[in-house]
Amino acid sequence: MDNSKVKLTIDDREVEVPKDSTILEAALSVGIDIPYFCWHPNLESVGACRMCLVEVEKMPKLVASCVNPVAEGMVVHTNTEKVIKAREKVLEFVLTNHPLDCPTCDKGGECDLQDLTYDHGPMMTRYREDKVRWIVDTHYRFDDLQLGPLIYRNQNRCITCFRCVRITREIFGYSDLGVFGRGSKTHISAPGGEKFLNEFSGNTVEYCPVGALTARNFRYKIRPWLCEQTPTVCPMCGDGCNMTAWSHQRKGHIRNTSRRNDSIDEGMLCDRGRFGSVFSNHPDRIKSPMIKEGDTFREVQWEEALGFIAEGIKKIKSESGPEALGGIASDLVSNEEAYLFSRLMRQGVGTNNLDFRGDRKSLLGAGALKILFEMQKMSVPLEKVASFDTVFVIGTDIASTHPIYTMWLKRGIRKAGLRVLAANSRKLDFGIYSVQNFTYRPGGELALLLGLLKVIVKEKLYSDAGPFRGGQFSRWANSLQKTNYDTIAASCGLSEERISILARALAESENCLFVVGQDLWEGPLGSSCLLAINDLAVLTENNGNPRGGVNLLFDSGNYLGALNWGLTPDYLPARRHREDKVGREKIESLWNCRLPEAEGFDTIKMLEQIRKGNIKGLYLYQSDLLCDFPDWEYIHDCLSKLDLLIVHELFLTETAKMATVILPATSFVETEGTFTNTEGRIQRFQRGAAPSKGVRESWQTLSRLAQKLGAEFVYENPPEIFREMVTLSSDAAGLDYDKLGARGRIVALAERVFEPALYEVEFDSYTSGDSDYPYPLLTGDLVYHLRHLTNYNEDMMLVAPEAHLEISPEDAKSLELKEDDTVRVESARGALEVKVAISKKSPPGVVFLPRNYSDKNVNKLRDREKTLDYVRIAKA
């Protein structure tokens, strides 16, 4: 990179900017305002709108400042008479064919054209001809065309700045929006009558300078000036993009727009975050506490419900001890609520039976979590992802789970020639950007990793001069010899040759980032895979110090926060281990209590104990266990055995219907607090909308319940909780809630620096066929859905309304299935009838069914005792 600077004069001000910047960037950097429509900092300039014309001395014509690079000694004038006149005329041109339908336009009030016309435009137009009208349907007076389920287009208003098309193509790599026609007939449309639908389509609406593209969820809703805007953070995936929540006094939370944070999202949001996180004003929200009486629920007052719970807990405690109680939270609650819930369970109830992971068949134990914490020290911030030259994505369909992370990868591919290697049991698709796919068989992930290690050791692709010599290393290297390539190839389905190609690419790259999906490290072989990834990173010297790195992906909004702030049985808040004396004493003195000594159970063990009758009371905090847990029958059986099931929820879910007591919770827009994203960045979100009448904020409920249970919880507001909890960690201690600022802060919560070490990994794999049920069933979130939460969002249900079984074209051919055929998917546990989607992402012989639909719950097919579920498919 050329870092040299150039000096120029803009409006009699000396400006010093990097050499390759444009005049517009130079002017904006010192706060000189130049109007523009088509320019956007993330896009290549096209110079289409001609709004940014400026006068440069010694140049004969006015120049478009967005495309002209700066030069040493350049003298620029942005407000001479000539420039002002030019802006006026360009606006007059723009307005000639722009309908003045602002009263009916959704953009009215936040429209760039309105603003700029007000500032620079002509008072009157001299245009008296008929305007071009782009009639969609002659029966309609309004010319709106639905491009896709979420986006409306009104071509009359379009000023053809092409921002939408460029954003879709350049930043996100999709070509499902294009420019057609020419001259005054230029129009924006989806090609070939197809739908404009991708997971980033909402950005086109936000960056449309006029009302040509409008969103369905804001269509004729309310005027922007009547809304209150609150800075918030998206909880829909681990990326933690910054958003502005728009809420209205009567209508509640209406929509979200981006809030540019250059460290995370660069002003872009995915549709799941933008549209899917608007669920707070859904009619199914629980509006008051309820107690079950017979088969129905009775609405009660808060104090009665809390009293009932406190008594129930006390009763079980006195009869069977505190170990007979457990609590399961969700990974979508804020850091403060996680901390508070942890404190409630440990101090108020007195048990370590505490977890937040409800959707896995196997969970990482305390030992594996320690490795995970250790490996987190190798992580790199999101904004640096694009600067690597190789990224190895393993065990995740990252385009579905972390859309904005993918945006950074695409940026790297586009700008810096980044090479993305992907190993997953399903293929990755980055649109027009290339990904090298190494598709392994489900269950073969560890085999692949061991294969990679074997190749690197065999071909001596590590640096010999480094620490990799001596007896300890050769012992480690020998441990790899226990498995041979045949076993590996049989398990992962990739030949030795393919594995070698991948291994060489990893070892030979200058700077390689390992991106490890949650499905991998939380899968059945999670802890071994973690060790193998660690070995790979250490062996290829990509351990983040000084080059390379490992990013462990956390799929949901605050998974890492829940992990950090004490929602696992063994780790107390601030990652203090239960048996770590210093930490324990610190917490005890802060909380002014004795912490329970007994070992706690995680979700899976808790359910076993419930089945055995040892646990009698369960507190589910925003955890829809019935729908999430990968064995519907089992969990249903467990939950119905409980004496006391407290469900603290947003919606009346299936789980809530089984509850003894239901407490209403508050969503992220109705409360304030912090989230921790997948990088470990703590970001603050604010309260955007008031909870509906009679609903208490969750932290208030938790505190009041704790008080009823005899613990001294005195918090005025979430910031106070935050201030208390950060004192527990030396790393976070300096954090000031009010100064978390626009960008948030990455907090590692680690006490020591990273020491690279190689671990011996035992080979394991879990692929085994079954003649009755030949197809391994994979499941996960769709890009438009997050578990069952988005079932409560109209937009997302419109985009992806029902479950589709994704099968490969090869399988479809052999089974004689066509798109949208109904099939019966059968496992040993149960059967579902779903429609078929033929997807190139699925490799042959593997099927995928999303877990997001409560009516077609894939967990009814799953068996918790089998690491991999197998199904058979028959035409219905």
Partner: protein
């Protein structure tokens, strides 16, 4: 003594002088009206109860743009738009709190569609504060009443002109 006479004279002269004024007015035209027995007459630009106008084909003019609401100094208008079956923007709710309204007429001025107007009606006292909220249906009904009156010639034309055709809004 002379002073006393002068004072008395002024007293006795003042009475017929005053009565003369009274008598003079006996023969003049009366200004006051016999309300409520006789209907009151108003200036053409009197600003009374609101109404929402319709197009000649009966369709409501309001597009729920919200400019009246933002122009209103007393914040008495609340409206919510919705989409009708033809994809057009119409008002779902249009509420005016007449007890809060100061009848300034700014809403009328802000309206780009000439949908909200202030009429001549002033007799709308109610027994309950709640009843002072005029909904969209009521406001449209006001207009229909006016139209009926206009057809029968009861109401003098207010000086404004509707734009002729619905299509010319561009």
């Amino acid at each position: 003594m002379a002073d006393l006479i002068r004072i008395l004279a002024s007293i006795f002269l003042a009475i017929p002088k005053g009565l003369a004024t009274t008598f003079k007015h006996l023969f003049r035209k009366t200004i006051t009206i016999d309300y409520p027995r006789k209907p009151a007459k108003f200036a053409p630009r009197y600003r009374g109860l609101h109404y929402l106008t319709r197009y000649p084909d009966g369709e409501e003019r309001c597009v729920a743009c919200g400019l009246c609401a933002i122009a209103c100094p007393s914040d008495c208008i609340y409206l919510e738009p919705e989409e009708n079956e033809r994809g057009e923007r119409v008002a779902k709710l249009y509420e005016i709190d007449e007890i809060r309204c100061i009848f300034c007429g700014y809403c009328e001025e802000a309206c780009p569609e000439e949908a909200i107007r202030l009429g001549w009606e002033f007799e709308f006292s109610q027994y309950d504060r709640k009843n002072f909220v005029w909904t969209k249906e009521m406001l449209l009904e006001n207009f229909d009443k006016l139209e009926k009156g206009r057809a029968k010639g009861f109401i003098r034309e207010k000086k404004f002109q509707f734009r002729a055709e619905p299509e010319t809004y561009f």
